[in-house]
C-alpha cells in the first residue's frame, strides 16, 4: 500500500471515531427528514420545498464537516505534536499532506452518499420523480467541498486551528459573493481599482460555479458543458491551492 494511502486511511479512521462527525451527520439527516413535515405547512409545491431544504442541508453540513474536521486533521496534529513521529518516518511532507487531503475527501464522499440516500428515500416516499439534475447538483456540492477542504488544508499549514477555521469560513462566504467583486470592478471609475478588484476576483474562489440549486429547483435545463466547466474549474483551483500548501508545509519548522 502506498504511503499516501496509509495516511489517508488513517485520517479516515480518525474521523470515523470522532464524535463531532456523528453530531453533524445526525443533525443533517434530521433536517432532511424534517423537510417533509415543513413542506406540509406550505401552499405551493411540496416537492420544491423538500428539494430546496434538503440540498441546502447537504451543502451546509458538508461545508461544516469539511472545515471543522478538515482543519483538525492537520492543525491539531501540529498543535498536539503527533506529527513529529510521522515526519521522522520515511515519508515526504507532501505525501503526508496529500494523504490527509484524500482521507478527508473519502470521509466527505461517504457522508454525502449517506445524506443523498436519505434525501432520495424522502423523495421516493413522497413519490416524487428522481430527476438526474439532483445528482448533478450533489456532484457540484461535492466539488465545492473539495475546494473548501483544500483551502482548510492550506490555512492549516501555517496557522492555528481556530484561525484556520475562521479564514476558511470567511473564504466560503466571500466565494459566494465574488461575482459582486467583478460587478464592482466594472462600475469603478479608475483603472487601478478595477485591476485590483479583478485580481481579487480571479484569485478568490468563485463558489457560485458550483451552485445549480436554483436551476434544479425550477426545472431549468443544466447543460453538460456547464457541469464539466465547473468541475474543471474546481479541480484546477484545488491543484493550485494544494501546490501552495505543499510549498508552505515543506518549508515550515515543527517547533
Amino acid at each position: 500500500m502506498s504511503k499516501i494511502a496509509v495516511i489517508a486511511l488513517n485520517a479516515y479512521k480518525e474521523t470515523i471515531r470522532d464524535k463531532l462527525l456523528y453530531n453533524l451527520v445526525i443533525f443533517a439527516l434530521l433536517l432532511i427528514g424534517s423537510s417533509v413535515i415543513l413542506s406540509t405547512l406550505t401552499v405551493g409545491e411540496r416537492s420544491k420545498i423538500i428539494v430546496d431544504l434538503s440540498l441546502a442541508s447537504i451543502n451546509l453540513f458538508g461545508v461544516l464537516i469539511a472545515i471543522f474536521v478538515g482543519i483538525g486533521l492537520v492543525s491539531k496534529e501540529i498543535e498536539k505534536k503527533t506529527i513529529f513521529t510521522i515526519i521522522a518516518k520515511p515519508v515526504h511532507r507532501w505525501q503526508y499532506l496529500l494523504g490527509k487531503y484524500l482521507g478527508l475527501l473519502l470521509i466527505l464522499a461517504v457522508n454525502l452518499t449517506l445524506m443523498t440516500v436519505c434525501f432520495y428515500l424522502v423523495q421516493l416516499a413522497g413519490e416524487w420523480a428522481l430527476r438526474p439534475e439532483l445528482m448533478m447538483a450533489i456532484w457540484l456540492i461535492y466539488v465545492e467541498l473539495m475546494v473548501i477542504t483544500a483551502l482548510a488544508l492550506l490555512f492549516s499549514t501555517f496557522t492555528t486551528s481556530t484561525l484556520a477555521a475562521i479564514f476558511t469560513l470567511s473564504l466560503y462566504v466571500i466565494g459566494h459573493l465574488s461575482v459582486s467583486i467583478k460587478e464592482f470592478a466594472k462600475r469603478i471609475g479608475t483603472e487601478t481599482a478595477a485591476i485590483v478588484a479583478n485580481a481579487l476576483y480571479y484569485s478568490l474562489p468563485n463558489l457560485d460555479h458550483f451552485n445549480i440549486k436554483a436551476e434544479v429547483l425550477y426545472q431549468a435545463p443544466v447543460s453538460f458543458a456547464r457541469l464539466a466547466w465547473a468541475t474543471f474549474y474546481g479541480l484546477a483551483y484545488i491543484a493550485v491551492i494544494l501546490l501552495l500548501a505543499g510549498i508552505i508545509f515543506q518549508r515550515r519548522d515543527f517547533k
Binding site: 500500500m1 504511503k3 495516511i7 479512521k13 498536539k80 513529529f84 515526519i87 519548522d253 515543527f254
Partner: protein, 309 residues
C-alpha cells in the same frame, strides 16, 4: 552514524521578532554501536538539535549527516527510529493498530509486520494490551509503546528524546535495560536526558550541552577523571575524646551520630595520617569509601560556569 558540523539554530519569536539562539555551532560525532548520552538542563537545546536531525526543523546554518547522508534524505529515515519527548500519539488507535500504521509507513505489511508487532509488544511488555486504545494508556505505557514504534523498522540508529522523563524508578530501569538490549543487537543509541544517574550507568560517551553550546564531550570515565580531587569517607566507632578532636581538625567534615563518627577527607594522604590516630584513640574502623566524582558534579560545574559567563 551522526555527524554535526557547526549546527546552529536561531528562532525568531513573537511580534517583535526577538531572536533566540537555541543552538550554537554544535560539533558532534556519534560512532556506530555506541550509546551516546546527550545531556543538559531544560532549555539547553537538546530537543532542538534532535529535531534538526529528524528533519522537523531546519538549521539556520551548519550541516549534519545521518548514516553518511545529508539531512532530508528520506531513504536514510528507513533505517532510523525516533521517539519524541513526552510523546503524543493517535489516542484513537489501539496498540496493535498504532504499530501497524507506523509499520505501513515503512512499507511493511502482512504476516511479516504482524510478527514484528507481536515481538515488539512482547519486548516492551504490552502484549496483553494490544487491543486497548492509547487514550487509556498510562504515561509509562505510552513511553513504552512509543519505543516500540521507534523500533518497528528494526533501525540501525535509534534516537530517543528524554526517554526516561516522567517515569518512576521501575519504568526508568526498564527503559535502561531496553537501551542496553539495543546495544547488544549492534544498534547505535543516541538519547537526551537530564537524569544523570541513568546516563552514567549506561552511556559509552556523553556530551553536555548548556545554553545551546556543547561544553563537554567524551567517555564517561574520562570526564569523571578530569573532575580531579576525590574525597574519602571514613566511618569510625568508639573514639575517645582527644582522638576525636584531632581527627575533626584533619577532616574537611565530621558528623557524629551516636557511637560512630563520619569523617570526610579531601585527600587520600590524609587518610594515611588519620589511621594511626584512630587506632591510638581506641577507635574501630567501620567503613572506608572512596567517593567518585559523579556526572552530576560535572554537570553542575558546567551550568554554574555558563551562568557566570
Amino acid at each position: 552514524m551522526i555527524v554535526c558540523k557547526q549546527l546552529t539554530k536561531q528562532f525568531v519569536t513573537g511580534l517583535r521578532q526577538r531572536k533566540v539562539l537555541a543552538l550554537q555551532g554544535l560539533d558532534l560525532e556519534v560512532t556506530a554501536g555506541e550509546i551516546f548520552g546527550f545531556l543538559g538542563p531544560n532549555g539547553a537545546g537538546k530537543t532542538t538539535a534532535i529535531k534538526i536531525l529528524m528533519g522537523l526543523i531546519y538549521p539556520t546554518s551548519g550541516e549534519a549527516r545521518l548514516l553518511g547522508k545529508p539531512l532530508g534524505d528520506v531513504g536514510v529515515k528507513q533505517r532510523i527510529g525516533f521517539l519524541p519527548e513526552s510523546p503524543y500519539f493517535y489516542d484513537y488507535l489501539t496498540a496493535a493498530e498504532f504499530l501497524t500504521f507506523y509499520g505501513q509507513l515503512f512499507g511493511r505489511s502482512g504476516r511479516e509486520l504482524r510478527s514484528r508487532i507481536d515481538e515488539l509488544l512482547e519486548l516492551v511488555g504490552l502484549a496483553d494490551r494490544r487491543r486497548l486504545r492509547l487514550r487509556n494508556f498510562s504515561k509509562g505505557m505510552l513511553q513504552r509503546i512509543g519505543l516500540a514504534q521507534a523500533l518497528i523498522n528494526d533501525p540501525s540508529l535509534v534516537v530517543l528524546d528524554e526517554p526516561m522523563s516522567g517515569l518512576d524508578p521501575v519504568g526508568r530501569k526498564e527503559i535502561r535495560d531496553l537501551i542496553l538490549h539495543l546495544k547488544e543487537q549492534g544498534k547505535t543509541v543516541f538519547f537526551s536526558s537530564h537524569i544523570l544517574s541513568d546516563a552514567e550507568m549506561i552511556c559509552d560517551r556523553v556530551g553536555i550541552l548548556v545554553g545551546g553550546r556543547l561544553r563537554e564531550i567524551g567517555r564517561v570515565e574520562e570526564l569523571l577523571g578530569r573532575l580531579g580531587a576525590k574525597t574519602v569517607e571514613v566511618v569510625v566507632a568508639g573514639l575517645n575524646g582527644e582522638a576525636a578532636a584531632r581527627l575533626r581538625n584533619m577532616a574537611v567534615k565530621a558528623v557524629v551520630s551516636g557511637p560512630s563518627t563520619m569523617l570526610v577527607f579531601d585527600r587520600e594522604e590524609r587518610v594515611d595520617e588519620a589511621l594511626p590516630v584512630i587506632m591510638a584513640g581506641g577507635g574501630k574502623l567501620v567503613s572506608l569509601v572512596r567517593q567518585k566524582g559523579s556526572l552530576e558534579d560535572l554537570f553542575m560545574r558546567e551550568v554554574a560556569q555558563e551562568r557566570r559567563e
